[in-house]
Symmetry: C2
């Protein structure tokens, strides 16, 4: 059948994203309160900022025409310079050598960079060590390459260095160390676990990656999509700032969460050895992401429209997170076995249910939650294929989309569902 | 070295696009008249149209927020419906069954669709039969997958059916028929050969593809990027309209050439069997192309801004093509062995040089052309890796970017270079 359709092996590896099923559910039942969607808050999207930036961009016909023409493969130079300068300023300092603008590439969202990285690093059967749980779209991308995701245990400080070392030792014993190509981390407010990798562990993880790069280089992919969305505590220097030789960390960031996912401009900082392979692949795939969007984001930054917007966004999400946590205190704290970690940023709360409760798509909790009118993301979608075992008794709750009032109603409904399911 | 860098096999297949070298040359020498660039005409880019559409899109805050939010994996439904309706209207009729909107997918340029197709159809070593010459970015993409491009001879009516059959028979004899996954055609004003596949051959090529789909399905990829840019003659029905079962032709189109490459919205019509594989892969790669751009193009079409713009564009390119052909008559017609086919549309003229003249990047013609201040695309970049042999004595000239006056000066300079090189 597959042969008769002329499909590649890859087409068979690539399963649909499980989240698609949830999205269909949400569309079919608009009455549901969705604590599932990873969308950003609708009301705080930057309408006036975008209008001002695009007005400026299109006001001068010559400048407008440049934005409407093809751009370059690596992306608009002025924006690459700006994101690099902002990155260096945020970190305060970088291990020498600091990255140069030649190492910066613009992509259609950070997901495109993650995909390009997968292509240039991974052959079928290669391994990526990931936090367990991890971002499910990244895990799906690995599966589509027939690469293997391996879960490493986390705690409130992020990936546990000792667990990482143990996994590497296990792979060495199994003769697979040369297949370990990367460690994937969402180092700020991880999706879905919400934990931030601690300062001390940042240095340790780089050191471990370098020490174990014996048979093959092990890169550290730092998905920093949520870095701007901090509501408490101080920013931490990035993993890149601990990368002494500058040859280990790949930074993947995006303006999708901090400004607009509809504009969808992401960017990466690459180790020198990956610049040519990533650029060549991108040249063969799209020879540059949409240029108008890059010029638009450059105008947003240039006109000083970004920082005030992110400040507003933080205030807005801070209030919505507080609403969710308050509702959780009111409705969930009394249920035995239910607990959570208070996030300092991001868009999610990661909820631990009574041990063994099946929160999967066909499980008892989903059944009761839908009956009560609330939707969540089953935690099992977020576990790597190997390593640290999958937990069915975890769920991801998003406070991004719904209003504070709906968040409260949603948590109340969820509490009823958990009691029924228990 | 490669192993030590931890790169995938694919990273080694993927060479840089040869055109990159030309672009660096053009940037380093802004005095050069570039008859090389595949960019669209700068002056006719739709500034006022884009401004009007985006003003409308952003005027209503609710509508604006929708455009700034994530879209869907397949793309904005209203735009998918519009492009499908326009496609069906352009063809006049379709072989039954006509495609449904579920078979329409929006991509970041048609290149992204070509890439997704490559991924879901081709394993390393698989074959795609292409016109010789063909679009070089597509050939580079095939190489990055370690797939093999096989050139099939063309004449003024496009790919020669008898040559296609011969190639298929050869592959069958070699036990490789099951590896032939697709036939790639730019059926309107091919890049670079400028020929349009004749009506009769459209039906023949579909029939051949179906008849030879014995060991594996052979798809026909119709890259129709230039269809809107016709300056003479009547539009022809698409290959899809001859696809009786609707299971063979993939249509790849884009608004990049007909409206704006900076907005970069492309679209595809897929045979039913490819909808799920392409959708799944896209879901794992970017879960949808930039949504703002899709809403913007929808607004452009909805407000009736597209057709008048394309009409203007056609008038503009028609005049520039006429300027190029006039200059060629004046300066090139007298050189023995130099000839060309008069295109009815597109952005290029394909020039045949005196037999055996080396027009390659290190050849004698390039040397003289640069000395005379003009840049072209060496034809050798455009030949598939196997099959019909590469010709060094062909070049691609673009009338897209330069003014009519510069086109004339460029052709005059090229004539001097050819005489010197001869």
């Amino acid at each position: 059948m597959i042969l008769a359709l002329g499909l590649s092996r890859r087409a068979q590896f690539s399963g649909p994203q499980p989240i698609g099923e949830l999205m269909r559910l949400a569309l079919a039942r608009p009455d549901l309160i969705s604590l599932a969607a990873g969308f950003v808050d609708q009301e705080s999207l930057p309408v006036s900022e975008t209008r001002r930036a695009i007005d400026t961009l299109l006001a001068d016909p010559d400048r407008a025409r440049l934005a409407l023409q093809y751009g370059t493969n690596a992306g608009y130079l002025a924006l690459r310079e700006t994101v690099l300068a902002r990155f260096l300023a945020a970190d305060g300092q970088q291990a020498s050598p600091p990255p140069s603008v030649e190492q910066v590439i613009l992509t259609a969202g950070s997901n495109q960079l993650l995909h390009l990285l997968g292509e240039v690093l991974l052959d079928p059967g290669d391994l990526v060590l990931c936090a367990a749980p991890s971002y499910f779209v990244f895990l799906g991308m690995l599966q589509s390459l027939a690469a293997r995701s391996v879960g490493v245990a986390i705690d409130e400080q992020g990936m546990i260095p000792a667990a990482l070392e143990e996994e590497l030792a296990r792979r060495q014993k199994a003769g697979e160390l040369g297949r370990v190509k990367a460690i994937y981390l969402t180092s700020y407010f991880d999706n879905p676990s919400t934990v931030t990798l601690s300062l001390e562990r940042r240095a340790q993880i780089i050191e471990i990656a370098n020490r174990w790069s014996r048979e093959s280089k092990i890169y550290v992919i730092d998905d920093a999509a949520y870095r701007e969305l901090r509501y408490a505590g101080d920013d931490l220097p990035s993993l890149r700032s601990f990368d002494r030789a500058g040859d280990t960390v790949v930074v993947a960031e995006t303006f999708s969460k901090s400004f607009s996912p509809g504009i969808r401009v992401g960017w990466g900082i690459l180790p020198p050895a990956l610049v040519a392979p990533i650029s060549s692949l991108k040249a063969n795939i799209d020879f540059g992401s949409p240029h108008l969007n890059q010029r638009l984001m450059a105008a947003v930054l240039e006109q000083g429209l970004f920082e005030p917007h992110v400040a507003e966004l933080r205030a807005n999400y801070r209030a919505k997170l507080a609403a969710m946590l308050r509702a959780m205190d009111d409705f969930l704290a009394g249920i035995p076995g239910v607990c959570w970690h208070t996030p300092q940023g991001g868009l999610y709360v990661w909820l631990q249910l009574p041990e063994g409760m099946d929160a999967g798509p066909a499980g008892t909790l989903m059944h009761h939650a839908l009956a009560e009118g609330v939707l969540y993301v089953p935690g099992e979608y977020c576990y790597p294929a190997e390593g640290e075992p999958l937990r069915v008794d975890r769920i991801r709750l998003s406070f991004g989309v719904e209003s504070a009032q709906n968040i409260r109603r949603g948590i109340e409904a969820l509490a009823r569902a958990i009691r029924h399911a228990g």
